[in-house]
């Protein structure tokens, strides 16, 4: 199969899953109606139009963007650290976000707090997004300042991991002193969901992710050089520290934004780059970045579709589904190839 045929297949699969996402759910809406509603038709019932336009469409767009973003962020991190098991959250981005959310939910949650937010014009879900963003920015700024100073990637990896541990410890100490409904609210945040991004939030969510993905696309060439090691990249004329800074910035922007709006989404960031390397038999980032975007979007949509249990009113935790799909994929990939970072078999 030629590369362009593979890309067409990926795009087609994404289109099919997208249509399924819109059509299936707690109620089955016929394909024809879905298309007519998307085209702006007014003939179908008001409730179906609202379901499609206000619930399923933003959910599907969120899943597409989040899946693509996590895939790209994972690809960048795996290449930077030349480690197949690295995920987008490895530098502590999601731990920082959890810390921010935990602070808002557990230290300050309650009627009085909600009233304060209302006066300040910040609303419940926005407060969580802001808190998560600030939390991941805090961890990220520490990691980035280290990235400017230290030479070794492993040192950087350890710094990121350690900050992640510190953030998680603070979260568990806070959980110890929270009351039940606060704890419940925090735990449900960690479940992850594509369903809570509304059109209003999309105005920030979508452009931010677009910038992150564009940045990764621009970095495709230096990323290729990194595959063969820092020394090789340097001999190719790559300014290692500067490029490393931008790789981390791009991946953190992607993973941090997704975590802020959707909660920590498991496994897509690890599994998607592997799947693309296997499918396209290449390690060229100029091919991999767009492939990861398509594959990440498709898998995220598919996982969401499964989590919503078509034909029922029931919702499963999204992270349980992404891990159930992702884990066997990673095992299969690792069993099939000796050098997982290389292209092909």
């Amino acid at each position: 199969m030629s590369q362009s045929l593979k890309f067409s297949t990926l795009a087609l699969t994404l289109a099919v899953v997208f249509v399924l996402e819109l059509s299936l759910g707690s109620v089955m809406i016929p394909l024809k109606t879905v298309i007519s509603i998307l085209a702006g038709g007014q003939d179908s019932g008001e409730s179906w139009r609202q379901i499609i336009l206000l619930f399923r469409l933003p959910r599907a767009v969120t899943a597409i963007l989040a899946g693509a973003a996590l895939g790209v962020a994972g690809l960048e991190m795996q290449t930077l650290f030349r480690n197949p098991l690295v995920e987008p959250y490895i530098l502590g981005v999601s731990s920082g976000a959890s810390l921010g959310v935990a602070l808002v939910v557990m230290v300050t949650d309650g009627l009085g707090w909600n009233l304060l937010l209302e006066r300040a014009g910040i609303m419940g879900s926005t407060a969580l997004v802001v808190a998560a963003t600030l939390g991941s920015l805090a961890v990220l700024s520490v990691v980035l300042s280290f990235a400017r100073k230290v030479e070794s990637n492993i040192t950087l990896l350890i710094v990121g991991l350690m900050f992640g541990y510190i953030a998680s410890s603070l979260v568990s100490i806070m959980m110890q002193f929270s009351v039940e409904h606060q704890m419940q609210r925090f735990i449900t945040w960690t479940f992850g969901s594509f369903g809570s991004v509304t059109w209003q939030q999309m105005e920030i969510f979508a452009p931010t992710l677009a910038v992150g993905i564009l940045l990764a696309w621009i970095l495709a060439k230096p990323l290729n050089a990194f595959l063969l090691g820092d020394g090789y990249a340097r001999s190719m004329g790559v300014n290692v520290r500067r490029v490393r800074f931008w790789i981390i910035a791009s991946s953190a922007l992607l993973a941090g934004t997704v975590t802020a709006y959707c909660g920590p989404i498991a496994f897509l960031g690890i599994a998607v780059p592997h799947l693309c390397r296997l499918l396209l038999k290449t390690s060229d980032h100029r091919t991999l970045v767009p492939a990861v975007v398509l594959m990440g979007a498709t898998l995220a949509l598919f996982a969401d579709r499964v989590a919503m249990v078509p034909g029922s009113q029931i919702a499963l935790p999204l992270n349980a589904v992404t891990s159930l799909i992702g884990a066997p994929v990673v095992v299969a990939v690792i069993l099939k190839r000796r050098h997982v970072m290389e292209a092909g078999a």
């Binding site: 609202q50 937010l117 209302e118 006066r119 419940g124 369903g195 809570s196 029931i314 919702a315």
Partner: protein, 404 residues
């Protein structure tokens, strides 16, 4: 022989000293407790209670002892618990051996949930309560006061509910006669295995498993039995049940059945009580139609927001919206809540009108113990014409903007 005999008598002496020391160190039970609950030889002299609404426990009277059986301590439980209540000084009956013997009346009582606290006050047993999980959550005035005075200890270090947070040393030092707690079947939350290992007497209360409000409240007879207050519980509960039935009969006469649903979306999952739950029964008895009454499950269903919106878009009433204090705050969590008709007409009610300074909601304390008054609140929401001039206790209508 001589040596070993001396050794054993020495050991006995040491034990005696130890036991004596620990007894003298222990705080003495309140004198008032001793006077309110004299110790008769025969439990039946204290009157009896008959279980009418609760399905989860059985109370049997025998000569010289009582038997309490908890049939299903938690969802999916394979076995129940049997408690044999024997008056202090009375002979322990010979039974199968799987029963737990509890001496009555209990004098040093510990509870791990605020749900049981109002019953203690209703039965006049304040003096017996020596420990709670978290004191600052308590809203019942007489007991909140005793906690503030330092007469009640806190046995949970972290947030209530987690088994790992209990302070076993503090609990042991309280020397409780009985610890009442609920079970979930999940070892992360369940504490009774640890109590069993420590040899502490405990009773599992499965009030939350009842499918009717009156069934839940009738567990006050379960609590009362340990204190030989059976007759008092019978009388208090009879009053509650009569008032509840009276209110329900009034609601039945209403000409309309407005639709109602409850709760909020938590990150893509909306936990909706099943149509067989006590919540559904409350709404039905208050003259409303619960939108999920076609379902018969007793627990909660994890629904998608889409599914809830499909069914609840035209709902007349929306109740129990977590910690939201205004419509603006509610919409702040998700803009799409505005689609619900009850939101548009402002008929959104929350059960948070009475909160303790520590963040405890009195609805879950006094409200659960007084379902007749909760029902009156609900009827005044769904059918204000039936409750002219009534002022609600726990429910309040959400204002457009927050006020304080």
């Amino acid at each position: 022989m001589q040596v070993s005999g001396r050794a054993s008598s020495c050991l006995a002496l040491m034990l005696a000293v130890l036991v004596g020391a620990s007894l003298s160190c222990a705080p003495k039970p309140q004198a008032a407790a001793a006077s309110t609950s004299s110790t008769p030889a025969n439990a039946s002299s204290h009157g009896r209670a008959t279980v009418r609404y609760a399905k989860g426990f059985v109370l049997e009277y025998h000569d010289g002892y009582k038997v309490l059986r908890v049939l299903t301590p938690w969802r999916g439980a394979k076995e129940g618990f049997t408690y044999v209540l024997v008056p202090r000084g009375g002979a322990v009956p010979k039974l199968s051996g799987n029963e737990v013997i509890i001496r009555t009346p209990v004098r040093r009582f510990v509870v791990t949930s605020t749900i049981y606290v109002p019953y203690i006050a209703m039965l006049g047993l304040e003096d017996t309560l020596v420990g709670v999980a978290k004191g600052r959550m308590i809203t019942t005035p007489s007991i909140a006061k005793r906690f503030a005075e330092g007469k009640i200890a806190e046995i949970s270090d972290g947030s209530g509910g987690m088994a790992t947070n209990y302070n076993m040393e503090r609990l042991l030092s309280l020397q409780p006669d009985l610890i009442m707690l609920y079970g979930t079947g999940n070892p992360t939350y369940d504490f009774h295995e640890q109590l069993h290992a420590a040899g502490l007497p405990f009773a599992i209360n499965a009030e939350y498993m009842e499918s009717t409000p009156l069934g839940g409240t009738e567990w006050m007879k379960f609590i009362a039995a340990f204190f030989d207050k059976d007759a008092e519980a019978e009388q208090i509960f009879a009053g509650i049940a009569a008032r509840y039935e009276e209110e329900a009969a009034k609601a039945k006469s209403a000409s309309t059945r407005p639709t109602v649903f409850r709760g909020m979306d938590y990150r893509g999952v909306w936990f909706m009580p099943g149509g067989g739950s006590y919540v559904a029964k409350f709404y039905a008895d208050a003259g409303a139609r619960y939108l999920w009454d076609d379902d018969h499950s007793q627990g909660s269903m994890p629904l998608t927001m889409e599914a809830v919106m499909l069914r609840a878009r035209q709902a007349d009433f929306w109740v129990d919206v977590g910690s939201c204090g205004s419509l603006v705050q509610l919409a702040g969590f998700d803009e799409r809540y505005r689609l619900v008709r009850a939101f548009q007409t402002g008929r959104v009610y929350n059960n948070d009108a009475r909160m303790s300074p520590g963040g405890g909601n009195d609805y879950w304390e006094t409200g659960i113990a007084n379902p007749d008054r909760v029902l009156a609140d609900l009827i005044s929401i769904f059918h204000p014409e039936l409750k002219p001039g009534y002022s609600r206790v726990w429910y309040r209508q959400l204002p457009e903007r927050g006020v304080q």
